[in-house]
C-alpha cells in the first residue's frame, strides 16, 4: 500500500493510499469531532462537523475530512476561528432538536455552543443517518429508511420488515446519538401490535 506523507496541525502524519483525511487523523491520534461517521459505514458527509482546512497546490479551502482523500504533501488544520464558528453553529442547530444528547452536549462544552440559541424543534432526530446506513450496509435488511426531503425529512421504519428483523437485532440502537431511533421503533412496534 502506497504511503502518503501529510501534515495535520503541524504534526507529520503518514497515511495509506485510499485513506480519508479523517482516517489518517484518527490513526495518528488526532481528534476531529464527528457525528455521522462510523468506521463500518461508507462516509456520509452530512453533519459537516469534521470540516477541516486543507492546503494543496497553493490553494486553501474547507473540506469535509471524512470524504476528502489523503494527498501527498497535504497541509491540514483541524481548528481555526472559522472552523470553530462553523462547528459551534452546527451544534447549536442540532441542539435545538436534541438538547439532551450526551455527545452533542460534550461537543457543545468544547465549542461554546448555546443549546438555547434556537427555539426547540419537535423532532429530536439529527439525521446522522447511522441507523439507516447500518441497516442497509452492514445488516442489509433495509428495515429503516429516510422519507421526504428538506426540513420535512424523517426516518421511517418499514413495519413488516421491522417486525421480522428488529426484535432479534437492535444493533443500531446504540449508534443513535439522541435515542430518537428507539422512540421511532417503539412507535412502529406499538402500531404493528394493534
Amino acid at each position: 500500500m502506497k504511503k502518503i506523507r501529510m501534515q495535520i496541525d503541524e504534526k507529520e502524519v503518514v497515511a495509506e493510499e485510499g485513506m480519508t483525511v479523517l482516517e489518517a487523523a484518527l490513526q495518528a491520534g488526532i481528534s476531529i469531532p464527528t457525528l455521522c461517521y462510523h468506521e463500518k459505514l461508507e462516509p456520509f458527509g452530512g453533519c459537516r462537523l469534521c470540516m477541516v482546512e486543507v492546503e494543496s497546490g497553493g490553494r486553501t479551502r474547507l473540506v469535509v475530512s471524512c470524504v476528502y482523500l489523503a494527498e501527498e504533501g497535504l497541509v491540514v488544520r483541524t481548528r481555526s476561528e472559522k472552523i470553530d464558528k462553523i462547528r459551534k453553529v452546527i451544534l447549536e442547530l442540532l441542539l435545538a432538536h436534541a438538547p439532551d444528547s450526551p455527545k452533542l452536549q460534550e461537543y457543545a462544552a468544547e465549542y461554546g455552543a448555546d443549546k438555547n440559541r434556537f427555539e426547540k424543534e419537535a423532532s429530536f432526530c439529527v439525521h446522522c443517518g447511522l441507523c439507516v446506513r447500518y441497516c442497509a450496509e452492514v445488516k442489509q435488511k433495509h428495515a429503516v429508511g429516510f422519507i421526504d426531503r428538506g426540513i420535512r425529512k424523517e426516518i421511517c421504519f418499514i413495519p413488516e420488515i421491522a417486525a421480522k428483523e428488529c426484535p432479534g437485532c437492535k444493533e443500531c440502537f446504540e449508534l443513535c446519538p439522541t435515542s430518537y431511533l428507539q422512540a421511532a421503533y417503539v412507535l412502529v412496534e406499538s402500531l404493528a401490535s394493534r
Binding site: 458527509g45 482523500l69 453553529v89 442547530l93 429516510f146 426540513i151
Partner: protein
C-alpha cells in the same frame, strides 16, 4: 431512409428545399405551452378550417411552431414570406386573416402598436421588442414546425454535424469551442471547452454527455421554449459534444412538468434515428451515438449537476461532494459532461459560423448572447435574447417596455433562488457572468424577475428561503437546519415579530451555509437574503424596529382603508369582500371593519381607478371611521 454520408444529407436538404416555394404564404402560429394556454390550438384549427372553406389548401400553408418569445401578446402569428406579425390572435380573426393574405393586404388591428408613437409595426423585425434583441439562438423557433425534422433541415439544420463528421477531428472541435469562450448557460457559467477537455482527457472508454433540461428556477422558461420549439438544435449540439468528448451515449434530463418538451424531444430523437443522424456509423463517420430521455420527478435540487446524475442512476437526487469533478467521475463514476439546453444549442452555431463570429459580441468575460425570461412587473413579459453586455436598463425598458400601471421600478432579481436582487442604482450594469456576480447576484439560468414599489424585499428573501426549505435534499446540517431557522426568523419579521439581533443571526447562519454546505444549493441559498440586506437594509430595519412594511405588502403589517374623501359608495368592494368586512350602502361612504378584514386586497383591486379610494397603510394607526352623519354623500343635482 438512412443518410449514409454528409453528401446524402446535403442532397436531402436540397431535395426538401426544391419542393418548397419560398413565395408561398405560410401562417406560423406559436403552439408553445404559453400560447396554447392562451388558446393557440383553437386559433390554428380556425385558420385551417377557414383555408379549407375558402378552397385555398393548395396555396397557403400553416405551421404550429415553437415559442418566439413575445409571450405577453400571445397567441403570436407570423405570416411568411413577408414576416407579417399579428398579436393576440383569436379564432374569430381567422376569416379576416385568410382573406387578407389572398388579397395581399394586412389586418391592421392585429398589428403591434407602439405605446408612445402609436405607430404600427407590420413585420416581426419592426417591433421594438424584437428589434432590440440579438436573436441568434431563439430566432428559428417561429420558422419551424417543432415536430418536423425536414423543417430543421430546410433552415440548414445538421450542417454543423456534417461539417464536424466530414473532416474535423475531435481536437479541432474542442479548440473551436474553447476559442469561443462559451460559458455554461445554466447557472455557474463554467467554460464549456474546459469542461469538455477535462472529460476528453480523463481515463476510461465509457463517457457521457448530458443535457440539463430540469430548469427548476421558478420564473425561467427559456429551456422549455428551446426544447419544445427547436429540439433538433439541442440534439445536434449534443451529438457534436459526444463526438468531441468520446461519448457514445447522451442523456436528456427533462423535468416532467414540461410534457410538451418531453414529447417533442422524444419525437425529434425518433426522426433523427430514422435519418441515421443518431445510431450507428452516423453519416458514415464510424461514430455511434444514441440519446435517452429521462424525466425528472419534481425536485429542484436535481438541477444541480451531481444530484442530476444521481437521479439518472435511479436514486434520490442527493448531491455528491465535488472534490473529484464530475467531468472526471460523474454518471456511474464515468467522465460526464453536463451542460444546459441553451449551451448545447449554441454549439452548432459556433461550428458553422466560427468562434470569431461568436466572440464578436459580449463583454470581456462573457461572449455571445443569453436568453432571459423577463417576467414579473413588466409590460412585455416573455423570452428575450440579448448580447452579453447589454445593460439591465435597456433590457427592462427598451425591450421590456418598463413597469406597468405607472409603478416605480424597485429591483430585478436574477439567478433564481441562488441569485440576488439588483436595485435601481445599478440599472446600468452590463449583463455578464462576472458583472452580475460582483453585484451580489448571478446570471443563473436566465430568469429575470422585475419587481416594483409594491414588492416587499424582506418577503422576497423569505419566499426564496421557504422555497429552498422544501427543495433542499435535507442531507447536510448547514442547509437543512440553517434554512429552517432562517425561514422562521424571516417569517417572524414579516409578521411584525422581528427582534434585535435577528439580522446578525441571519448573517451568521448565512455564513455557515455558504462555507459548510454540501452543494451549490446550500452554498447559494443565502444569496437572496444577503443581496436584499445589502441594498434594502432599511426595509429590514423598518420591519423589525417600526413594525412597518414600506412596500405595504406584508399582510400582518398592512391595513386597508377607504379614504372617505374619495369613496363614491359604488358598492362594488362591498359585494366582493369575502369577509363581509365593509359596511356601507348606496350614497353611504364605505368603511372597512379592521377586525373582520383579512387583508386579501380584493377591495383595492376592484375599486374603480377613477375613484382610487382604497389605500394601504403600514406602520401607522388606521384613521378611525368618520362619524355616521358625515357618511352620506349628497349628489349635486343636474342643472335643468
Amino acid at each position: 431512409m438512412k443518410l449514409n454520408t454528409p453528401q446524402d444529407l446535403e442532397k436531402l436538404r436540397q431535395d426538401i428545399l426544391s419542393k418548397r416555394d419560398p413565395d408561398r404564404p405560410c401562417i406560423s402560429i406559436c403552439v408553445g405551452t404559453g400560447c396554447l394556454a392562451f388558446g393557440a390550438r383553437e386559433v390554428i384549427e380556425a385558420i385551417r378550417a377557414e383555408i379549407k372553406t375558402q378552397g385555398l389548401d393548395a396555396e397557403i400553408d400553416t405551421k404550429g411552431t415553437g415559442c418566439p418569445g413575445f409571450c405577453e401578446r400571445g397567441p403570436v402569428m407570423v405570416i411568411y414570406p413577408q414576416e407579417i406579425c399579428y398579436l393576440q390572435v383569436k379564432p374569430e380573426d381567422a376569416p379576416e386573416i385568410v382573406s387578407a393574405i389572398k388579397a395581399g393586404k394586412v389586418v391592421e388591428r392585429l398589428l403591434y402598436v407602439d405605446p408612445a408613437t402609436k405607430e404600427k409595426a407590420t413585420r416581426e423585425s419592426d417591433i421594438p421588442f424584437y428589434q432590440n434583441q440579438e436573436r441568434r439562438v431563439i430566432c428559428n423557433n417561429i420558422r419551424i414546425d417543432s415536430k418536423s425534422i425536414d423543417d430543421y433541415l430546410a433552415i440548414g439544420g445538421y450542417s454543423a454535424l456534417a461539417k464536424v463528421l466530414s473532416g474535423m477531428t475531435p481536437e479541432a472541435v474542442l479548440e473551436e469551442i474553447k476559442k469561443s469562450n462559451l460559458r455554461g448557460r445554466g447557472g455557474a457559467g463554467f467554460p464549456a471547452g474546459r469542461k469538455w477537455e477535462g472529460s476528453r482527457n480523463a481515463p476510461g472508454d465509457t463517457k457521457y454527455v448530458l443535457v440539463n433540461a430540469d430548469e427548476g428556477d421558478p420564473g425561467a422558461f427559456m429551456d422549455r421554449a428551446l426544447l419544445e420549439g427547436n429540439p433538433h438544435a439541442v440534439l445536434e449540439g449534443l451529438i457534436i459534444g459526444g463526438y468531441t468528448v468520446g461519448a457514445r451515449e447522451g442523456y436528456i434530463y427533462v423535468r416532467q412538468e414540461y410534457p410538451l418538451a418531453v414529447e417533442n424531444v422524444n419525437l425529434a430523437i425518433t426522426r433523427a434515428e430514422e435519418y441515421g443522424l443518431l445510431g450507428e456509423n452516423i453519416l458514415g463517420s464510424g461514430f455511434d451515438f444514441k440519446v435517452i430521455v429521462h424525466r425528472g420527478a419534481g425536485a429542484f435540487v436535481c438541477g444541480e449537476s451531481t444530484a442530476l446524475m444521481t437521479a439518472l442512476e435511479g436514486r434520490v437526487g442527493e448531491p455528491r461532494p465535488k472534490y473529484i469533478r464530475s467531468n472526471v467521475k460523474g454518471l456511474w463514476q464515468k467522465p460526464s459532461v453536463l451542460n444546459n439546453v441553451e449551451t448545447w444549442a449554441n454549439v452548432p452555431l459556433i461550428i458553422n459560423r466560427g468562434a470569431d463570429w461568436f466572440t464578436q459580441i459580449g463583454t470581456k468575460g462573457s461572449k455571445g448572447t443569453k436568453i432571459f425570461s423577463l417576467v414579473g412587473k413588466i409590460k412585455n413579459t416573455g423570452l428575450v435574447e440579448v448580447p452579453m453586455g447589454m445593460t439591465l436598463r435597456d433590457i427592462i425598458y427598451k425591450i421590456g417596455g418598463g413597469i406597468p400601471g405607472g409603478k416605480k421600478f424597485k429591483a430585478v432579481q436574477t439567478g433564481g433562488p441562488s441569485g440576488g436582487c439588483i436595485p435601481e442604482s445599478l440599472l446600468d450594469l452590463q449583463v455578464g457572468f462576472d458583472e452580475l456576480t460582483d453585484a451580489g447576484s448571478m446570471m443563473g439560468s436566465g430568469g429575470m424577475i422585475v419587481m416594483d414599489e409594491d414588492t416587499c424585499m424582506v418577503d422576497v428573501a423569505r419566499y426564496f428561503i421557504e422555497f429552498l426549505t422544501d427543495e433542499s435534499c435535507g442531507k447536510c446540517v448547514p442547509c437543512r437546519e440553517g434554512l429552517r431557522q432562517m425561514h422562521k426568523i424571516l417569517t417572524r419579521i414579516t409578521e411584525g415579530k422581528g427582534r434585535e439581533g435577528d439580522i446578525e443571526t441571519l448573517e451568521e447562519l448565512s455564513e455557515v451555509a455558504v462555507e459548510a454546505s454540501l452543494c451549490a444549493l446550500g452554498k447559494s441559498a443565502p444569496n437572496p437574503f444577503l443581496s436584499t440586506l445589502r441594498y434594502f437594509r432599511d426595509e429590514y430595519e423598518a420591519h423589525i424596529q417600526d413594525k412597518r412594511c414600506p412596500a405595504r405588502s406584508c399582510q400582518a403589517l398592512t391595513s386597508y382603508y377607504i379614504d372617505p374623501e374619495k369613496c363614491q359608495a359604488c358598492l362594488i368592494c362591498m359585494k366582493k369582500c369575502a369577509s363581509k368586512a365593509i359596511d356601507g350602502g348606496k350614497n353611504k361612504i364605505h368603511v372597512i371593519d379592521q377586525e373582520k378584514c383579512t387583508q386579501c386586497g380584493v377591495c383595492l383591486d376592484v375599486c374603480p381607478s377613477r375613484f382610487g379610494a382604497v389605500v394601504k397603510i403600514s406602520g401607522e394607526p388606521v384613521p378611525p371611521p368618520i362619524p355616521e352623519e358625515q357618511r352620506t354623500i349628497v349628489r349635486k343635482k343636474k342643472e335643468k
